[in-house]
Symmetry: C2
Subunit: 473 residues, 2 copies
């Protein structure tokens, strides 16, 4: 919020005033000229769009406004996600919406074409952030941070052709959790998978499964551990018929693998990971996927992706194709790309597909016909009398000052029925009613909108009584 | 979060693989090629920046990252602001970060030059939103909303030369509250001023004053009420020597005004407003300012601006020049500019200068040497023993599953001292310690980091005991 350009505006105003000053204005001072001008300017603006009949009022392609109804659902879901991140000791942070273009290039492979560039207005070449991971890596390298557990919730922008039906837009929200630093193998990786499970169970979206990209597991074994491709492929045979722990166990029972020192080493990390997942009680949620391919270019290790097992079909609900609702993996090379000496900071993280989750929950509520309250107002201040605005204002100020969420109609003399109807349509639970009678007796009526019961209480007990009722409900 | 472009990536990968495939790779399938390629690409990227020695890692000019320390302060302040907005019955909403350029042009006067335009990448011409008011007006017109009380917290972007010392950046956060709709005069206006007062008192930034632009009051009287300029200027004489209610009262005692029917009408709204402000108990916070000029072009009526009366100087704190910390006013013409038929929706609103408030609070904490916790971790899981990772993992999962915020070190065999030091440096209040002895006896030690007291409790009572302690503290 800035109140800007006082002087330039003055100059500009007096300039304009030469052109716009009405004849009768010649007698007045600068002050008047300016207000006249402002008014004149405004009127000219008012015409502006009418002179352009083909001007269409819309949001940019692939974007949308978020209505109060959307916001209520989002707030609930984001609260759950963020509180899980905090439960695991993550710190919050934020980065600018745009980065130097150079910071983002060569990080996303062919997707880079989907980046929003800013117009060159003199100065730096900028692009809107494409995800929250590259800015995080840039942050770590820039501040020489070698260790950090952080979460980041924010908007990112991608110029894809939007498939709105899946709740995919060009502007969307990401919720990322990442652990940066050199640690003993697979402990942070296991925690990331645990977090995914906690969030997806907490959201009660129905059953889910986390799939690991076998391609990457294999890649790890062959390239990093030097396992012979044919041995890796034999392990691959198991992957196709089993998943998770049982897979690992069985592989160790197969002499062709268990007696192959190389194979055992190659399987080491995988075994370790599943040991930890078992201790976390989530091993059964993890399986391998042959078709899953590494996501963005910066992933260096195993990537994983969470999918809902069955679309959460309620009675009469259209089935939803939601695809993956969370994903993550290792990107040990990314931070090094920003470090002049190429010093690496190993990272593992996850991203919750909140946009799709918002979409699922909204669809569900729609089919259930659930109505959400878009305000939190607790008390409505009403009167049956004319000329009671002053009393209503005094009363509502008292409520606000006691921290009570209160509303009234901005009318001098509203009808009582209109006032009560407003409460019912917006879900306000309590009404306080003040009239001449009450004023004389020093009381206030409290009405429960649901039961329509009314009781008169002493005016001085009003706040206490309301707080009592609100704490009970 | 999208896992993107599987097929295009495949194509691209196999293409690259023609160039990059190592000789021994010829025997392997597409899968392997792809991972090889990904690895190769990554290595080439890793070199990327090293080949550009003059590449500087930074955030764009006038922007900055928000560290966990920043985020903690912001979260606290935004919570207070938003809860006040909700207390007054406002709904939340959001709009895209960018708008059609045409939506924003001719709304900000000469400031338009400060807009960030997006590069024309085919399609629509877009600009980053410059404030939250114009998008709100566009939303109302687009959805034919005639009545709405909403708040909006979000980032906006302005290409000003940043004066970082005042906490002004090119990317900054706005917190807006607006009331749209045709209502009885001055009631919503008075509520906006009440909200400003509630927030500024709640934040305890020291004493403050809300100044009204006399120019605009005068403009209202002359242009809207048709008051003779000389009468308006006589009223102006009062403004210079008095402010607020007393002003209005005295004017009514002056026969030159009180016996002038026109003057009485001209004063009507002003009188009404101050009546309501008096009922709200904030009339003494409001005064007039001759120098204050209307802000952005879309303001049509009285604008107001809140300033801190004395910079909140604590012992040894450098004085701060913070200027205005909140502002608002009427913009009855803006929505009509978007309506094809020019239908107006009168609006009044306010914007809290949170960035400056963040800056003030941060400066204060700095001089006070206050340290903020950047995590909310309640319990740390420690062990004095080697090879106790499995027990720690089982234990911490139990805490997480009970909703307790818990951390441990990602090491197989951390030293107990290292673990306890981590708790002290990050402010974690409780430590649970498990070792062989405890395991044998089926107990767990709970240690208070502050008092360093340790007690052993039954393992099965752990969660209950921790929750009890946390609820007490």
């Amino acid at each position: 919020m800035h109140l800007l350009g006082l002087l330039p505006r003055r100059a500009w105003a007096s300039l304009l005033s030469q052109l716009l000053r009405p004849p009768w204005a010649s007698c007045t001072g600068a002050v008047r000229c300016q207000s006249q001008v402002a008014e004149a300017v405004l009127t000219s603006q008012l015409k502006a769009h009418q002179e352009k009949p083909n001007f269409i009022i819309k949001t940019p392609k692939g974007t949308r406004d978020l209505s109060p109804q959307h916001m209520v659902v989002r707030e609930k879901i984001l609260d759950l996600v963020i509180s899980c991140f905090k439960r695991h000791g993550a710190k919050g942070m934020d980065t600018p919406a745009f980065e130097l273009k150079e910071t983002l290039t060569e990080k996303y492979g062919e997707d880079s074409g989907l980046m929003y560039d800013l117009k060159d207005q003199g100065g730096e070449l900028l692009s809107l952030r494409y995800d929250l991971t590259v800015p995080f890596a840039r942050y770590l390298a820039m501040n020489k941070v070698k260790k950090m557990k952080r979460y980041h919730v924010g908007k990112v922008w991608r110029r894809e052709s939007p498939t709105i039906v899946q709740g995919r837009y060009r502007e969307f929200c990401q919720c990322d959790f990442d652990i940066a630093g050199q640690f003993d193998p697979m402990i942070p990786d296991a925690e990331c998978l645990k977090i995914m499970c906690e969030i997806l169970s907490g959201l009660q979206l129905g059953d889910f499964l986390i799939k690991m990209a076998w391609k990457d597991v294999r890649h790890e074994m062959v390239v990093k551990k030097g396992l012979a491709p044919e041995v890796a492929d034999r392990i691959g045979d198991y992957v196709q018929c089993h998943g998770g722990v049982s897979l690992v166990e069985q592989m160790f029972q197969d002499p062709r693998l268990s007696q192959n020192k190389q194979a055992l080493e190659g399987l080491g990390d995988l075994k370790l990971l599943f040991e930890y997942l078992t201790l976390f009680g989530i091993a059964d949620k993890i399986s391998f996927d042959l078709s899953l391919a590494r996501g963005l270019d910066y992933y260096t290790g195993v990537i994983y992706e969470a999918v809902l097992l069955q679309t959460p079909t309620q009675a009469g609900e259209e089935p939803l194709n939601v695809g993956s609702v969370a994903a993550g993996g290792r990107y040990d090379g990314l931070v090094g790309m920003f470090d002049p000496k190429g010093h690496k900071v190993p990272c593992v993280g996850l991203s919750i597909g909140v946009e799709r989750i918002f979409y699922i929950v909204e669809q569900r509520m729609k089919t259930k016909g659930e109505k959400v309250r878009t305000t939190e107002t607790q008390v409505f201040v009403a009167t049956p009398q004319k000329n009671f605005l002053q009393e209503r204002l005094k009363l509502i100020a008292e409520l606000w000052n006691s921290g009570i969420k209160a509303e009234m109609l901005y009318k001098n003399n509203p009808k009582l029925l209109t006032q009560l109807h407003y409460c019912e349509s917006t879900g306000i639970p309590l009404v306080v009613i003040i009239g001449e009678q009450e004023l004389k007796e020093g009381v206030i009526k409290i009405r429960s909108v649901a039961s329509r019961e009314e009781v008169a209480i002493k005016r001085e007990n009003l706040v206490a009584e309301i707080q009592k009722r609100l704490s009970e409900s």
